[in-house]
Amino acid sequence: MSLNFYRRIAFGLSPQDELPQEPLSWALNQLNTVPDFLWKGSIPTEKELRKKYGEWVYGDREVLRKKFKNDKNAYRKAKDQLRIETGERYFELNEHAIRHYQTKYGTQPVFERFWLFWGNHFAISEKDFLAEFSTGPYQREVIRPNMLKTFEDMVQAVTTSWCMIHHLDNSESVGPNSKRGVESRDTINENHARELLELHTVSPRAGYTQEDVIQLAYIMTGWSHKWSRKTLETGDVWFDQEKHQKGEKIVLGKKYKNDAKRELAKVIHDLATHPMCIKFVSTKLCRHFISDEPTEEMINPVIEAWNKSNGNLIEIHKAVVTQAFKYNDTSHKFHPPEIWLMQLSRMFDLNTPLSAEKMNYAFKSKPTGRQGQLSWILREIGNSPYRAKQPNGWSDFEVDWVSPELLLRRFWFASVELPYLLKPQNRSHGFILRCLKNNFEDHENMASLIHQFRFGTTDKDLGRQYGIICNLPGVLKV
């Protein structure tokens, strides 16, 4: 087994990490518990951040727009001040720091890779102010605690989370025969129902029809945010009986009798245990960790583990790791930019994210350039994690990540920005060689490519060394 296993399922080995004696059991043992967050700075709750979200939209929409309706410049100024007071410019940066601190220093990095996977499977794409206030805490509080439970539990939690309900417009969905529907002649919004089928569970290969989407949307009517004049759309999720479509519903051939809020849990149970769902999600897991085009031999043991454990995520994760181990030396996997950055940060002990102390924010002025640095880098390398363009999240296919500009941005980061992130004591050629030895069998060949720059210690010299090393085929891929 080659050393790249530690990057295939985690982030490589840091200078402080010991080389595991038994790589497979080292990895499997990381999946039984949910590790605490190591971040020493502030970790606000989802509820606190939603309150901030509310203050921001209320302040802007209900107060400032009315107050300054005839003075564009004064409006802009007041709005900037409100951004500062509500942390609109800050919380996403803090979330990136929490996330990257965990992948850099975490003692269960394999668990963290699965956390990233599920956050992207149940993706929240760039919409309204979700990236600013909600996607980070959603991944911490909705995705993460469910990673020891069943896939069905995860789908239940995600589907009724405020973040997903808002993301996919379910609050706007009204059953036409419900009390509200009859009064207002409002009707359903299919967005959430469609993505629950297509992206989160059974996938289009299950062969559902437009009528199935409509029927599922009927079941989902009523699940919405509680609206009030002060909190606007940021109230807790509840089941609003007055919006719920009455009567029997049929999804994928199965009847669901009129049962108000209990209908949703029943249909999610059937979707999350559907054979097409199991196949679709198992394939996606193998694609993420093993190969763009996983074979049936790779996927089948994951499906078996799923069936045997009734969808227990610990067992599913273990099966994926076992398969990744088995195929480690015979399959290749290209990593998207954020995971590549996390690996560089861990392997070369980069000075990112910023310390908790320096990330501290007083809500009195704009976040500093240093506080925004990690988020800026993520954006520039094309992979700002909470800002996927669409609800299907970030791609797991190499071909979506290889273009001249996307590769150039990796060259840019490694050769121009990375030297600023090296700790003072690590600015030597000897340090690179040690890190390479920890992580790569062919470290001698890699070292020979930067041999001529070995005496340089300026940013430019180091940029040449890291610019080459970080973009070698064995670093971009495992």
């Binding site: 289009p204 290889v402 941005r409």
Partner: protein, 383 residues
Amino acid sequence: MNCTRRNFLIGGSTTLFLSGFFPKISFASMQKKNLIIISLRGGMDGLTAIPVIGDKRLKKLRKKLILEDVLKLNSDFGLHPKLEIFHQLWNQDKAAFVHATNIPYTGRSHFDGQNLMETGAHIPYKEKTGWLGRGLLASDIVGKGLAISLPMPLLLRGVPQNNNFFPSPDFVETKLIDRIYDEFKGDHNALIKSTLDTIRQRPLSMQIATDSEDRKKLALEAAKQLKDQSGPRVAVFELDGFDTHAAQGGVDGAHADELEEVNEIVKILYENLGSAFDNTLILTLTEFGRTIKQNGGYGTEHGYGSAILMAGGLLKKSQVYTDWPGLKKKELFEGRDLNSTIDSRAVYNSAMSICFNKDPEFLRREVFWGDDLPNLTEDLFKI
């Protein structure tokens, strides 16, 4: 602009034409023709962009989404006021629209739909290349595709050596790339290797650093590249955000904001391509249109038929080209969507035929598996 060997040869032979050695071939045929596609992801609402005038049923079903004032095109159709440049070009016979058109896909999934609008196929995820990439390859035009986006769109895949343009914040020493280039060996590294090839062969004019968040700058740079006789012949722009399930709006609102972005790109291209605009076709592409009826959130749901917005000097005339299916309940697709009466792939096939100087029959076979796509070149474009 950089003078490559190829450029020099073209320049040389043009002189021969001008001096009368080959009188039968006009100078115009030597001009590079540009095909520009703007992808509108999320499902562009054809009835918002090109509203049908005075339809009572539409007014009834879309109470909150009706446009109060539209730019007039003809007695039947108007134009969304944010698409102002198209109106200006319409008056010069340089803008036209195909209405009630779509790819032959009725599934209403964004991701399947976007995959099919790019591959031009019938089964989602089956084909790994885009119709535009295959069209270029079939026409022996290699290394002339340019994407104005960070990833390489599926639409352009299938022909090697495409470029994209979305500059990073600072320069990268090309020596770095040269140094690692030989390390990329084996089949599994072929894609990265060929992409590094493309980077190494980029013209100097593309090696700039700028703010890529600024779409206007990107469109301006793209126009410069396209204007260059030896530059790209095909460009792909990417816009998203057309999926307006809520607060879609009318003259202003979520859909209007997106249309304004299309307008901005076309305007910059028009103003900066100069005379090259006369040898250019700009066409939009989307996965589906939207429902006739507004939904519970004053937005619209995923539908079927949409419209193609077109601009450029290679258009035959200003027109709304359509076989209008009507908006009565029984005329709608599944009783809810504008129907599609023109396979939009026929429009794209015909456009490639014009811009790549290839027989549409040939392209239909090579690119679209011989699917039944009528030749629309005479109806839509200058031949």
